[in-house]
Subunit: 317 residues, 2 copies
Amino acid sequence: MPEPGTVAELGEFGLIRAVTENRRQPGSTLLGPGDDAAVTATSDGRVVTSTDVLVQGVHFRLDWSTPDQVGRKAIAVNLADIAAMGAVPTSVLVGLACPPDTPAKVITGLADGMWAEAESAGAGVVGGDMVQADQIVVSITALGDLRGREPVTRAGARPGDILAICGRLGWAAAGLAVLHRGFRSPVTVVNAQRYPEPPYAAGPAAAEAGATAMIDVSDGLLADLGHLAEASNVGLDLSREALELPKRLVEVGTALGADPWRWVLTGGEDHALAATFPSFADLPEGWRQIGVVNMPDSGVTLDGETYHEESGWEHWR
Amino acid sequence: MPEPGTVAELGEFGLIRAVTENRRQPGSTLLGPGDDAAVTATSDGRVVTSTDVLVQGVHFRLDWSTPDQVGRKAIAVNLADIAAMGAVPTSVLVGLACPPDTPAKVITGLADGMWAEAESAGAGVVGGDMVQADQIVVSITALGDLRGREPVTRAGARPGDILAICGRLGWAAAGLAVLHRGFRSPVTVVNAQRYPEPPYAAGPAAAEAGATAMIDVSDGLLADLGHLAEASNVGLDLSREALELPKRLVEVGTALGADPWRWVLTGGEDHALAATFPSFADLPEGWRQIGVVNMPDSGVTLDGETYHEESGWEHWR
């Protein structure tokens, strides 16, 4: 007999009911969960898609985060990719693997967080799959709608453009440092690690304002700007003064004896958006200039100098 | 130092290059792998989506199947869901988790199988994510195009319709029985277990011919027909004579002392398509009638009787 309250007791179909019943779908959901596949409206003959996988013990820990927070994070990291193309999120699909003795409450908590985060961005959870595995693995695929605009790729930056950012940098990394020391506060940085709050609307707004290239800052600012610089074949120079070190990160850095600049420049998981704009563009609300686009031979620099710390996260390394 | 030839040695970005470089994309791929998200063309203002997760040791074993075969299977089980809506597959996204000491050859083999299977259905692999986990988990999301037709759900069957099937039944289950006994032949049934060959084109053809309801047979014929009967609020009566027991399954059943009817009626993983059609419809090529649609109170029956074996696969049970 399976343990009471586990997914094994509820069974696959009971669990699917528990996570899909009485949920609201946006107007773009033409056919939601329950059939072989879902159907989503696409306004302009194109659909934007992105997949991210989160693994227990690698991307999240249930002793650090509630299932609800993990659910929010799983959706947010993916919708940030949709926003970074200049698209508006519409639908999300959830692939979930977990051990049979997982408390059903953990899974319904994950689902609650996923639905809440998707709804906050205007998207619906339209489908998924739940299977058995040795550890919890959450794989999310998000869909987005470009609403007639061209996608903003990483490849369009030109020398002379300005480099701008929208969203936080270094907060999730500071939160991780706090959690690793066994602390649970300050709660603003710890919560930033538990789930990001990407500025979803800033992506389409940047596209509308003429952004020439855009990227979701998931692995660290310098690492992700390196991807943008490589794809666009340009150099990028950041300004320390323009980046501004948040007072809270300075405080946490002092308390932990750590360099807050390293969090800002190399910390991942905040999912700010970075974009380049023509020098004459009016930056949309929430965007601030942090640097300029140069010729390709200069690479990614900080006040003209190369930054010599490890610059980002790479899996298996 | 990571072991030579492992994914840890190659690193995330090296591995992404290895599985994405020099691949062909169909015309529907407007933007393929390499940016924050992909862009796929949708011909009629809608996109069909489905997600399936496959876990090593649960859905596949690398001592029974080659990585290439597992890759084919992962894509096929998902594209079958797209076909079961009457849609044509366009794009696939791949979420992949694996241990750091996984041989890179295993991952490139998986990728080869995925690309080959997607290409055989006219689809391209447009995006994905690769992360670290304790066991190999493959999560696939497939996209499809309805080409102006309405989706064929599970819910439209009406009493008086005919019930038809396209594709194989019981072959994968027979193959599993063979493998469990430690044998590797007959190769036709063993290969049917290693990867299905869903009749992708039969889904859109059924929609074109006026199919009233359709489902992908993934968990077993009786179990999946039970889902269709419930969604449509009808009964379904199957005919043993019409189902026809393949000679090869009779031989394997005799050799193993097993009942081949059980494989046909309850075996999953062949990914045949089952659909109901108006009684006057001309069945498209490859479809054959196996029963009729009745009033709801009769349930799913075989020659008018309830079949009393366990009827399908349910996770965690």
